[in-house]
């Protein structure tokens, strides 16, 4: 370590002596540190000129950089740099990146879209995003719906039809399901009979005698259920009347109710109180035609498409 000793480094003092011998050490900042500090000052000045920095009057100094974007009204706007404008510009870029796909989609038929692996991939990702934004609040994220409120889109039963065209029609114009409350015209005994009949259609344990009477009521003019649900009780898709003979339940929560008595009671409740909550909003005007088309294929591909 002889070479180190040759370098003498004496501790600096401030140079002033108090009381004759009292000195103060001086520890100046390291040179590299000081110059780094100067560099940060220069950086800050450059930064001020490029980006928004100082409050000024009622606004602020915008800086030299700007962002141009097209807003939702289709107007081109230029604004000094800010994260909101940056977000809108990003959205413009994302929309531009999606445009070729949407253009292709509006030119293709539903069947072509479903059979094209690339488009299929786009539908699954883009459709999922639109579905999550617009549909999932009611139909749930996977389209499984909620018994008693919102229909399941993944099964093979459709109130209004599961073809591409019917799904599209539902999306564009919305739907309004309605069933009158039969407690106004029928007595409790009759409703119980009807409920037993409906239970018998799906093979649920029931009172055979009541079901027989219910059958008569169903097909007779007193209750006139067959007007909407059809004589075979398989429903009418043109009015959205559900098929009562299958294993799928939307309004009466039969699958989750324990015991045959309970299941019949659940059906009884629906017949007595009717329904006026089967409302699907119309999406025309809220979503673009291409978005609705994507959703149509997406919903069709959820598993139940016909």
């Amino acid at each position: 370590m002889s070479e180190q000793k040759s370098q003498s480094q004496t501790a600096q003092t401030t140079g002033h002596a108090w009381d004759g011998d009292l000195e103060e050490y001086n520890n100046p900042l390291p040179t590299w540190w000081v110059y780094t500090f100067y560099a940060t000052v220069v950086f800050a000045i450059v930064y001020w000129t490029i980006y928004p920095s100082w409050p000024f009057g009622k606004g602020w100094i915008g800086g030299a950089s700007s962002i141009t974007y097209v807003n939702s009204e289709g107007e081109t706007k230029t604004h000094s740099w800010n994260t909101r404008a940056l977000y809108l510009e990003d959205m413009n870029q994302a929309a531009a990146a999606q445009k070729p796909y949407f253009d292709k989609i509006s030119a293709m038929s539903y069947e072509q879209i479903a059979k094209d692996p690339d488009m299929n991939g786009f539908i699954i990702s883009a459709g999922k995003a639109i579905f999550a934004d617009s549909c999932a609040p009611c139909h749930q994220s996977g389209g499984q719906g909620v018994v008693g409120f919102f229909p399941n889109l993944t099964d093979d039963d459709w109130l209004y039809g599961g073809s591409y065209d019917k799904i599209h029609e539902t999306l564009v114009g919305g739907r309004r399901g309605y069933m009158p409350a039969f407690s106004e015209v029928l007595g409790g005994e009759q409703i119980d009979q009807l409920a037993n009949y409906v239970a018998s259609l799906s093979g649920i344990g029931h009172d055979a005698a009541k079901a027989k009477a219910g059958n008569a009521l169903f097909h007779g003019e007193a209750a006139a259920c067959f007007y909407c649900h059809n004589a075979d009780a398989k429903g009418r898709k043109d009015v959205g009347a559900p098929n009562l003979t299958d294993s799928i339940w939307l309004w009466a929560n039969v699958p989750a109710t324990a015991g045959n008595e309970g299941k019949v009671a659940a059906i009884r409740g629906v017949i007595a109180n009717g329904l006026n909550k089967g409302v699907m909003p119309a999406w025309a005007g809220r979503l673009s035609p291409e978005q609705i088309k994507v959703l149509t294929v997406y919903v069709h591909e959820l598993g139940g498409g016909q």
């Binding site: 004496t10 059979k115 692996p117 699954i124 399941n152 099964d155 799928i248």
Partner: protein, 478 residues
């Protein structure tokens, strides 16, 4: 640490320039051959052509935007990250294994800091001459000769550093095109940034900082010290032989032969100082094993040269272990590998290398992931059947377009429905998605908890891969 008059410790020490003398010998030859081999690979590999159907004809290409590494016939995708993990593990274990046996062999012969410093010293030697000439040049006042020589050295260093940076980026894009693009200003910003970082850092690390990188910056050098064992072979000065009773002594009349020197009590070291002059980190190995030593073996070469010239036996400085040097009766140095640590590292090394080779050689031509759709887990259909749905992601890892088909075992064949896409053709390096649904009658559904989905590349039944997937059905109420 030096102390000054006020008793304060100075924290900063100015670098003392090291002018290394060149030397010939076994270790120098080994170092040179490692250097030549490493440089041949590093600088020329990006230029090796390799014909491919769908990618640039470059043997080794790390295609970052395309998310794949092309290494000769092998294409590595991000999901193969386990190979990188294995490689890093193997590298680490190899370092531990070797360090326990022969000390900092990595530092001395293979580390890129050592290699580039070696190259830069060679450039310095080429321009300015041997050690005495370089010392004279550094001491003389600035004149035409000094400006030309020092300036020329730095210019060549910068050029070497620039080519180092360029060679690095050549691995990430088609090299011939990138070279042209780089100098016409059309290369990607990342290329300029990378070269902008690597060039000055190479210049600074190999030209200006050199041994300071090893001494002050590099953690590997330091933590390798803890891997030394008493029987680890390292570069040692045999002080018992070199110093004897009265210490080193220059060769002069009456102290010329070994017999004379031994009789008078002098050691074998003639104190020529050559071992210090050749040392790239500027230490004196005769002070004993020290943390600055990168174990490059040049002092062994230097000492052996001197020993030869006086007719003394070689090996005053040699690879030996502390244990052996301190022993009553030193034996010939030999590798001490019979310890649990060494054998354990060796076993781990062998195991992981075998696994890596196995994993690469048995890689499939495609990847598949089957995800069961969980929203909802199952659907009850109108006739009471239970349906589960699955998304099958397939990634084509082969070099051609490939069509894939999906079939099932463990369920009736008609239960599997692939919807509108019955098979999918995927471009090389791309992924595709198939949606499958499986529909079972309630009785069968209740019994089925798992089944297999089989993905088969068309025309390659041997490459088929199966995946066991769950089948969910409602719990039977009551």
């Amino acid at each position: 640490m030096q102390t000054d008059s006020a008793g304060q410790t100075g924290l900063y020490q100015k670098r003392i320039p090291i002018f290394t003398r060149s030397v010939k010998g076994r270790f120098r030859r080994f170092k040179t051959s490692v250097l030549v081999l490493a440089y041949t690979v590093y600088f020329l590999l990006p230029w090796l052509p390799w014909s491919r159907l769908d990618a640039p004809a470059q043997a080794v290409l790390f295609d970052i935007p395309g998310r794949k590494f092309l290494i000769f016939g092998l294409t590595v995708y991000p999901q193969d990250v386990i190979w990188l993990a294995l490689l890093l593990f193997i590298a680490a274990i190899l370092l531990f294994f070797v360090t326990g046996l022969v000390g900092r062999a990595f530092c001395g012969y293979f580390c890129f800091q050592t290699l580039w410093t070696d190259l830069f010293i060679w450039i310095e030697h080429f321009v300015q001459g041997e050690r005495p000439a370089r010392i004279r040049l550094s001491r003389q006042p600035w004149n035409r000769e000094k400006i030309l020589k020092i300036g020329g050295t730095h210019a060549l260093w910068l050029l070497a550093a620039l080519w180092t940076g360029l060679s690095f980026i050549f691995y990430f894009s088609y090299a011939p095109q990138l070279l042209v693009d780089f100098f016409t200003g059309q290369a990607a910003l990342a290329a300029y940034i990378t070269v902008g970082i690597i060039t000055p850092s190479t210049y600074a690390a190999a030209g200006l900082m050199r041994e300071q990188v090893c001494t002050y910056i590099c953690p590997y050098g330091r933590f390798q010290s803890v891997m030394y064992e008493p029987n680890t072979l390292a570069v040692h000065y045999d002080s018992r032989r070199g110093e004897s009773a009265l210490g080193r002594a220059p060769v002069r009349a009456g102290q010329r032969s070994l017999a004379e020197r031994h009789e008078q009590g002098f050691g074998d070291c003639v104190d020529c100082g050559l071992c210090v002059q050749v040392c790239p980190v500027g230490i004196d190995i005769r002070d004993g094993l020290q943390y600055k030593c990168i174990s490059c073996g040049l002092c062994i070469d230097a000492c052996n040269t001197i020993m030869d010239s006086f007719g003394f036996p070689q090996g005053l400085i040699r690879y030996d272990s502390e244990q052996n040097l301190a022993a009553e009766k030193p034996t010939a140095p030999k590798l001490q590998w019979k310890s649990l640590k060494t054998i354990g590292y060796g076993a781990a090394l062998l195991l992981m290398s075998t696994y890596l080779v196995y994993s690469i050689s048995t890689r499939g031509s495609f990847d598949r992931v089957v995800n069961q759709i969980r929203q909802p887990l199952y659907v009850v259909l109108s006739n009471g059947d239970i349906r589960n749905r699955y998304q099958i992601h397939i990634t084509n890892k082969s070099a051609q377009n490939q069509t894939y088909q999906v079939s099932s075992t463990g369920i009736p064949a008609e239960a599997l429905d692939l919807g509108s896409l019955h098979e999918i053709t995927i471009r090389p390096g791309h992924s595709g998605l198939l949606q499958a649904s499986v529909r079972l009658p309630p009785e069968l559904a209740a019994k089925t908890h798992h089944f297999e989905l089989l993905v088969t590349p068309q025309g390659k039944p041997a490459d088929a891969r199966s995946e066991t997937v769950r089948f969910d059905s409602p719990r039977q109420a009551e």
